[in-house]
């Protein structure tokens, strides 16, 4: 698990980031927390993308993770960061596993839009339900760590970094297993996979469930980082679009890519908003077009080109 270049780089990068975070100003710590939280969801979408599937509805699972944290906090007073994270990932994973029985039968635009439809159902329910916070959402209390309430955000930053590291290592390992190798194989030729004696439906179901667990975990971490959840910023279709945007920006080449892409997205959005508060979407759109035209393999493909090496698949 730890003996390839990607794993070694991840371990070293996590160490540097955790140490560097102790000396970094708050705004940088915040950017990393938001970026790495979202990167978990991107990691899951990357697994789906490698299989040839794009979901325009993973805000459903992102939102489920975030709202699981909010409801645990407001109704049961649970503030432990690990319990909150676990709840977000489990709730989204169970929902993903059940919905996966439907999704595994669809491909292309049908897969993408069916996910959107399901996410909009949840959006509609939350917006119309007072007990779920309606359009206002919930404020979330600061997370505790084994009963201790940290005074700064640094401990949460370290936990998010380590969760990101664990998820990246796990997905990196998964991509080297037979199941993981079947991502590209299924994208290339489902007929051959079936005639080799392997169930494409089962493989897609597993990949979908993995992606939903990661999206739920991402939502939970984002909710804890922001201290606030609301349907517009957690479940709406624009959030799904944002996740797809960052996935394309990152590229599917390596598990490191989602973390870089997500950070670039955070920085880009922050500066775009600062430079042009009325037209920041224009800057984001132009960036998206540039990536599609000149870097269809995302930022990771640029890193590969600069490094002159092929990615580890």
């Amino acid at each position: 698990m730890f003996n390839d270049r990607t794993a070694k780089f991840l371990l070293l990068a996590a160490l540097v980031i955790c140490v560097g975070g102790a000396f970094a100003p708050n705004w940088i710590v915040n950017q990393f927390m938001f970026g790495f939280s979202r990167a978990l969801a991107i990691l899951g979408l990357m697994v789906l993308w490698r299989t040839g599937l794009v979901s325009f509805g993973h805000a459903f699972y992102f939102g489920l993770g975030a709202y699981a944290v909010a409801i645990l906090d407001s109704k049961l007073g649970v503030s432990d960061v690990f319990l909150r994270l676990l709840a977000g990932a489990v709730v989204a994973g169970v929902a993903g596993f059940l919905i996966g029985f439907i999704m595994r039968n669809y491909r292309d635009i049908f897969f993408a839009m069916l996910n959107t439809a399901i996410s909009m159902v949840l959006f509609g329910i939350v917006v119309k339900t007072e007990s779920l916070g309606s359009t206002d959402g919930f404020a979330i209390s600061a997370s505790t760590i084994f009963g201790l309430a940290p005074e700064t955000k640094y401990p949460l930053f370290v936990i998010i970094t380590l969760v990101g590291l664990t998820a990246a290592l796990a997905v990196n390992f998964y991509l080297k297993t037979t199941f993981g190798k079947l991502t590209t194989a299924i994208r290339d030729n489902e007929i051959r996979v079936e005639y080799l004696g392997f169930s494409v439906a089962h493989a897609i179901h597993l990949k979908y469930t993995i992606s939903t667990i990661l999206a739920g975990g991402a939502g939970a971490l984002m909710a804890m980082s922001l201290g606030q959840v609301d349907p517009e910023s957690m479940i709406n279709w624009t959030v799904s679009g944002e996740l797809v945007f960052v996935t394309i920006l990152s590229g599917p080449g390596n598990v490191i890519a989602p973390f870089i892409g997500s950070l670039v997205f955070e920085v880009l959005r922050t500066y775009a908003f600062e430079l042009a508060p009325q037209a920041w979407q224009l800057i984001m759109g132009a960036t998206f077009l540039t990536i599609i035209f000149f870097l269809p393999g995302g930022i990771w493909s640029l890193i590969e080109k600069l490094g002159g090496k092929k990615n580890e698949k």
Binding site: F173, K176, K181, Y195, L196, G197, H202
Partner: protein, 257 residues
């Protein structure tokens, strides 16, 4: 041709698509180790027959028994697990992956039918099996090449090699030499049939090229309008009047004489 040692027994097979009858009254027994050529004009029902045996199409009526077990109603995966494998007229491979990666996936699935699919794929055991397959199918020079960059003949070889790694008892090849040049076709078939002979696999292959049929098969099934019109050794089949008229074409046969 029927006998008690048949591993594949097909009885009264019928396939219709609305009013169109694609296959009818198909009764055939295949014995262990036979090399059977399936010939016929386009639309005669050859590929339809292959598709029914491998579960791609469900017969409208009839029975297909493999080693005594009924195959009708089973999906493609279960038929593969039972011991029947196939290649395709247009090679079905993973085009964005290398030859080695294609074979490694096939080997990994064949090794444990995916039960251990969450284990690492690239193990020393699979690597040594990969080397063996690459050698047997003479794919070593292309092992690191991406499939989309390869010639049709190499893709066909890979397609067949992937179908065989699960060690099937019956292999169905759908037009293995289509798209392969005249100069290369015998070399290609020598590699394939040589490798299959070592494994003792029973082979049924659809073929339009009568030179290939004459050279490699021990028995011919000639299809015409969904029915088998001849089931005999290749020399007899090619001399048969019905086969000459409906499959080969009289003129072609006269020229050859």
């Amino acid at each position: 041709m029927r006998n008690s040692s048949s591993i594949l027994k097909v009885r009264n097979l019928l396939k219709t698509f609305g009013a169109v009858v694609a296959a009818k009254d198909i009764n055939v027994d295949i014995s262990q180790g036979e090399i059977v050529g399936i010939i016929g004009a386009n639309g005669a029902g050859k590929t339809c027959f292959v598709n029914m045996v491998t579960g791609y199409l469900a017969p409208t009526e009839g029975s297909i028994k493999f080693e005594g077990a009924e195959l009708v109603g089973l999906g493609t995966r279960k038929i593969t697990h039972a011991g029947i494998s196939r290649s395709f007229q247009v090679s079905q491979v993973f085009h964005s992956m290398t030859v080695s990666e294609n074979l490694m996936i096939a080997l990994a699935i064949a090794n444990n039918r995916g039960a251990d699919a969450l284990g690492l794929m690239d193990t020393p055991d699979l690597r040594s099996k990969l080397d063996e397959v690459l050698k047997r199918y003479k794919l070593e020079p292309q092992k690191d090449a991406t499939v989309s960059a390869l010639a049709q003949g190499v893709r066909k070889l890979l397609d067949i090699a992937m179908a065989v790694v699960s060690k099937p008892r019956i292999l169905l090849l759908d037009e293995p030499t289509s798209g392969i040049s005249v100069e290369e076709k015998f070399d290609f078939m020598d590699i394939v049939m040589g490798a299959l002979k070592e494994d003792g696999v029973t082979v049924l292959f659809v073929e339009h090229d009568m030179e290939i049929v004459e050279r490699y098969v021990s028995r011919v099934l000639a299809f015409y309008q969904g029915e088998i019109i001849a089931d005999m050794p290749p020399k007899d089949a090619l001399a048969d009047k019905k086969v000459q008229e409906f499959v080969i074409g009289k003129e072609h046969h006269k020229k050859k004489k």
